[in-house]
């Protein structure tokens, strides 16, 4: 089920687009220009076909039953795990299926809460929080990597602190060095912000966290679809990503963990498929990853996600990154030229293809509506990062984000349309 990555070959987005049926449609008579891949990516035929093929030919519940279909489904399901784990540099047993990044982060937060209550295996005590212990996040997090930690802090008496962000979008590493201290037990942060697009300095933050013995949790949602990713090499203890943002189906994602971390972590959801021995009054749990996979699993989605990462691997993540860097530069350079446009966090930095901005005098919702009338799909609002928007004095912004299938022509269509927004709404000269 593996494929050999083609690296260092420039990709041809026009050829790739043929693989994505939806990119051929039009909106209100205009060809669709899809610049909202940071919200969810479009799916290649290989992914759609993989799900359909499984449901057509092998569908059965996995890890139970002795019939042929059950055996075939289980094999495909576990092959999918190995494929997706390999995509992020991990071993199969280091990858837990979740319904997505939000579920993965909640799994970790609740598992730590359970460890705090004395549940789990004997080694789980290493995660137990005491009142006054500190959980550190950053000011730029998606709500999914903020709210679960707020709740964990409230349940355990831990204190939630944050690493601030500079006006230019870079995390304040000087502040990080003082915020992360001897009471710090968890440092949770994003690899790439879904608003800024900047690739954050993971090794530096991991070094600060590990220097005080804290657990690191990485949100890799916006990096996994766009960069070559090797989670063990990044040195993080735990990481999450969402399948639907990386060409895969909805309802599937991954939680990666270092082997010793996953082995010591108590379960969150409990029930069928995650046990070794169940009595009426007590239960013993399976080792990872099954310990964290209670109940019927999203099998066709896992197989679809494996097809997605095979597709990405075949294109080559180096080529994807290089192509999106090209798009990102054109996007950002073009936006800087348009009167009344203010980019959020415009530091020179390594980025993915993403830019969020404010249009002076026109609300983000109105900008999005105008662009939609020309077939251009962007995201408007706070992008589930309200604290970051508050930091920039905004309640909402417009975000254009790319994927491997976008062309420079599409970026130009978007930039041209944007120049007409303020005149349409009668703002500016």
């Amino acid at each position: 089920m593996s494929s050999s990555p083609r690296t260092s070959i420039a990709l041809d987005p026009r050829a790739l687009r043929e693989d994505f049926p939806i990119l051929g449609r039009s909106v209100d008579g205009h060809p669709l220009v899809y610049l909202d891949s940071a919200a969810t990516s479009q799916k290649p035929r290989a992914v759609i076909d993989a799900e359909v093929a499984f449901l057509t030919n092998e569908n059965a519940a996995v890890h139970r039953g002795a019939h042929t279909l059950a055996a075939e489904a289980t094999e495909l399901f576990e092959d999918a795990r190995a494929t997706v784990a390999g995509f992020v540099g991990a071993a199969p047993e280091q990858l837990v299926w979740t319904s997505g990044a939000t579920a993965g982060l909640n799994l970790v937060a609740y598992a730590i809460g359970n460890a705090t209550l004395g549940r789990g295996v004997p080694e789980s005590v290493r995660f137990a929080l005491a009142p006054g212990d500190e959980i550190v996040v950053t000011e730029i997090e998606h709500h999914a990597n903020l709210v679960p930690w707020q709740e964990l802090a409230a349940r355990t008496g831990a204190v939630l602190r944050h690493i601030p962000v500079h006006e230019d979008g870079q995390l304040d590493l000087d502040a990080a060095a003082s915020v992360i201290g001897e009471r710090t037990r968890i440092v949770a942060f994003t690899h790439v912000s879904n608003v800024l697009g900047i690739v954050n300095p993971v090794p530096e933050l991991v070094a600060l966290a590990h220097g005080v013995g804290a657990l690191t949790v990485l949100d890799a949602c916006q990096s996994a679809p766009h960069l070559p990713l090797d989670l063990p090499e990044l040195g993080v203890d735990l990481a999450v990503f969402s399948g639907h943002k990386m060409l895969g189906p909805y309802g599937i994602g991954g939680l990666y963990g270092r082997a010793d971390v996953l082995e010591a972590l108590p379960p969150f959801l409990t029930g069928g498929s995650m046990i070794t021995k169940v009595g009426l009054d007590r239960t013993e749990f399976l080792p990872p990853p099954q310990r964290f996979e209670a109940g019927t699993q999203p099998v066709s989605q896992a197989i679809g996600l494996a097809a997605a990462v095979r597709y990405l691997d075949a294109v080559g993540m180096d080529a994807v990154h290089a192509h999106e860097r090209l798009l990102e530069r054109r996007l950002r350079d073009g936006l800087r030229e348009i009167a009344g446009v203010r980019l959020l966090g415009d530091a020179p930095a390594e980025r993915v293809g993403l830019a969020a901005f404010d249009v002076d005098g026109v609300h983000a919702h109105d900008v999005g509506q105008f662009l939609d009338s020309r077939g251009i799909a962007v995201r408007v609002g706070h992008h589930c990062a309200a604290p970051l928007h508050a930091r920039f004095g905004l309640t909402a912004s417009v975000r254009a984000s790319t994927a491997l299938y976008n062309t420079t022509d599409e970026v130009d269509v978007f930039l041209d349309a944007l120049t007409h927004v303020r005149p349409f709404f009668g703002v500016g000269a």
């Binding site: 919702h365 009338s373 309640t395």
Partner: protein
């Protein structure tokens, strides 16, 4: 008229640029406020109703930030109430809110009547854009809530 122009009629752009009733009046007599927020886009409004002694609505004033549709809608509501000589009876206000909601949720099948709604008729086009219905409703939901609070 293109789709975009039927949504953003001139009246809407006018009201959003020069909104009526923006800036909350001194609370005199029976007055109540409501704060409403659209969690999707972060738009928010604080709206106050002031009541006359006979329990009719004296005026509506508001403050908030949001898209042109939400700002225009709040402004049009303020004008509608203002134009009712001698105050708007509570029952009429409730009926107006219900009718407005019904039109906006009709996916373009029930237009907003100009006779009854004045400038707010221009918001008829919003009902075809389901993602924008909440923008247009925000002030009216605040009005409904404030009315319920005003004894």
């Amino acid at each position: 008229m293109s789709g975009l122009e039927s949504l953003y009629q001139e009246l809407i752009l006018e009201h959003s640029k020069r909104p009526h009733g923006k800036g909350i009046a001194e609370p005199e007599g029976a007055a109540a406020t409501s704060h409403q927020r659209n969690p999707i886009c972060g738009d928010e409004i604080t709206l106050q109703v002031r009541m006359n002694a006979d329990d009719t609505v004296r005026d509506v004033t508001w403050d908030g930030a949001g898209c042109s549709i939400s700002q225009a809608s709040a402004s049009m509501l303020a004008v509608l109430v203002d134009d009712r000589e001698g105050g708007m009876p509570r029952a009429e206000a409730t009926a107006l809110i219900d009718g407005f909601r019904t039109s906006l949720r009709s996916r373009g099948t029930i237009p907003i009547d100009e006779e009854t709604y004045g400038d707010a008729e221009a918001l008829s086009g919003v009902s075809k854009y389901t993602a924008r219905v909440k923008c247009a409703m925000l002030a009216w939901v605040a009005f409904e809530d404030a009315l319920a609070r005003a004894s």
